[in-house]
């Protein structure tokens, strides 16, 4: 099992979600986050005074999938969240030891 965490642009969330659903991948956690990468924040100007704002607001989605579905999930996110402009975000993949469905007590891939 893998956990895929992807930091994406706000307006790409619906596209990513719909595309993943079409691929048969269900279940997603969405979090409001802020941070910076190569984009390095932005500046705001108030009556001529400039302020550097380091952290850019983004959406982070977390998806747990089977090892077999991993590439499909990554490809889908890459395809739908990409604009080609700086600030498109990143995808992180980690190994997941276990998952448990609280309602039934199922574990492992059955609980995804």
């Amino acid at each position: 099992m893998k956990k895929v965490e992807a930091v994406i642009r706000h307006f790409k969330l619906d596209d990513v979600k719909n595309a993943l659903s079409e691929q048969g991948v269900f279940g997603m956690t969405v979090i409001e986050v802020s941070g910076y990468g190569r984009q390095k924040g932005h500046t705001e100007t108030y009556r001529g005074t400039e302020y550097a704002v380091d952290f850019v607001p983004k959406k982070k989605i977390e998806i747990v999938c089977s090892d077999g579905n991993l590439q499909k999930v990554i490809d889908t996110i890459l395809r739908t969240a990409q604009t080609g402009q700086i600030g498109d975000g990143k995808i992180f993949v980690t190994n997941l030891e276990d998952s448990i469905r609280i309602r039934t007590g199922e574990t492992g891939e059955d609980a995804i």
Partner: protein, 491 residues
């Protein structure tokens, strides 16, 4: 403990003074000659159509009596001007500070509505509009004598004193709204760091010792009033307060900003406005309220009021567009704060000219204000390094000065023909430079007087009670340290 004891004593002394003043009222009335004996209705039959109230007096043969249309408009205007202080200015300013100071700024506006009104009712109005001495007002209206109704033994009924076609009450309350908002404007310069107590004491003293004389000089036939015998350089035109309100408060604001010092962390900490939503709404409220401010200064519901209304709107519109365009061209994006600031700058600039200029010059004046005030706030402030927190000087001082000078340029006999008997008056229509010189002299006198008086007051208050909050209080924010409250609790 000692502080609370002193505060208690101070509060008792204040209440005792107020009660004493009220008890003294009949005595004061007796001291003022002819205060109660004459039917006062006929005493001040001065139409105010020909310029701002009290500025140009044309004697009438018959008492015109109350005009309900004029009175209705002036009462409406008074309410509109009050609306400018709170919520207008309160929201405009409070959105521009950090969220830990939002209540502090709102409180200053709200509290001054109360405090300055009391000062106005006791001695402010009479110092502004009492008597005919060109330098200082007398005690004619002390404690609202000769404003409030008096019993007329001959008629066997109470008589309400009149001011032209409106009751003296209406004129008094309209002018009182100006007295409230002027010190509130200064609060923008020392926002986020001044003691509330120091602000209150400063406002009372500044209103009494700076606003009242200036108001008397400009609007009650004093040394800056256009066409008066004692006027310096022929006097100046100031329809609704370019000199009295905006230059005086703007210049004093700059002095305050320099004297009180920069905010902790100025130049490197994040001091972004916490809610430009408030600021935008506040600016829009100021725009609406300004119709009362300027069109009400006609003193009647007449053609002059319509001219003032139209040019006020035009100037604000041009100011909003000009400032936003400057940012669009120079920085790539027109900001909301720039648009709001430009509208206020346009309103400030047209204020002295509203009853003297035509609509097309008003567009020019508004656009000039948008550009010049943009430079004052975005370039001059940065290069000179003072911390005028909310740009009270950059908008009101600079915009007011520009407006006063441009009034001399664009004043037209088409609007104020009866001032000159139909002769050209402004530089633009061939009236020569005399009016421009009069305007500049009035500006210089106002600046010099405001600077000297404000420095003395600030020094005095600094020695006695201190001007600035402690560093710890400033870091925590004035909402908690000065008022014990928080603006936002989302739980």
């Amino acid at each position: 403990m000692r502080t609370y004891f002193l505060r208690g004593r101070l509060a008792c002394a204040l209440i005792a003074t107020l009660v004493g003043l009220l008890l003294c009222q009949p005595l004061a009335a007796q001291l003022i000659p002819e205060a109660d004996d004459e039917p006062v209705a006929a005493e001040r039959n001065v139409p105010v159509e020909a310029g701002n109230a009290g500025e140009v007096e044309i004697p009438e043969e018959e008492a015109p009596g109350l005009d309900s249309g004029d009175n209705a408009w002036m009462l409406t205007s008074s309410a509109l001007v009050l609306f400018m202080t709170a919520p207008g200015l309160a929201m405009f300013y409070s959105g521009l500070v950090r969220k830990k100071n939002v209540l502090g700024v709102m409180m200053q506006c709200l509290f001054l509505m109360g405090l300055m009104t009391i000062v106005w009712s006791l001695w402010g109005y009479t110092l502004c509009f009492g008597g005919s001495n060109p330098y200082v007002g007398d005690l004619e209206f002390l404690f609202m004598n000769n404003v409030q109704p008096a019993w007329d033994a001959e008629l066997g009924e109470p008589v309400t004193p009149m001011h032209g076609t409106i009751p003296e009450y209406t004129f008094m309350i309209f002018q009182g709204m100006f007295f409230i908002i002027t010190p509130a404007l200064i609060c923008g310069a020392f926002a986020e760091r001044m003691k509330f107590s120091a602000m209150a004491v400063f406002s009372v003293l500044w209103g009494t010792l700076v606003y009242c004389p200036l108001c008397h000089w400009v609007w009650d036939g004093g040394i800056l009033a256009y066409g008066e015998a004692d006027a310096l350089a022929g006097g100046a035109l100031d329809f609704a307060g370019g000199t009295v309100v905006h230059i005086s408060s703007g210049i004093s604001a700059l002095v305050c900003a320099i004297f009180v010092g920069k905010r902790l962390g100025f130049g490197h900490d994040d001091m972004r406005p916490h809610s430009l939503t408030y600021t935008t709404l506040g600016a829009a409220m100021l725009w609406v309220g300004w119709f009362g401010f300027n069109a009400g200064s006609a003193g009647a519901a007449n053609g002059l009021a319509s001219n003032a209304f139209a040019v006020t709107h035009f100037s604000a519109a041009a100011g909003a567009v000009a400032w936003a365009m400057m940012e669009w061209i120079l920085r790539g994006k027109p900001s909301v704060l720039g648009c709001a600031s430009g509208a206020v700058a346009g309103l400030v600039c047209i204020t002295p000219a509203a009853g003297f200029v035509l609509p097309m010059p008003a567009l020019v004046m508004g656009a000039s204000a948008g550009i010049v005030c943009y430079y004052a706030c975005a370039v001059m402030k940065q290069s000179m390094g003072y911390d005028d927190s909310l740009d009270a000087f950059g908008v009101h001082g600079v915009g007011g000065t520009l407006g006063a000078v441009l009034t001399g340029v664009f004043a037209s006999r088409h609007v104020c023909g009866d001032l000159t008997g139909g002769e050209p008056i402004g530089l633009y229509e061939g009236g020569g430079v005399s009016l421009v010189i009069g305007q500049i002299v009035a500006v210089l006198v106002t600046i010099a007087f405001s600077v000297v008086a404000t420095v003395i007051l600030l020094k005095l208050i600094d020695v006695v009670i201190g001007l600035r909050v402690t560093q710890e209080s400033e870091i925590r924010g004035l909402d908690i340290s000065e008022h014990g409250e928080e603006g936002y609790i989302f739980s």
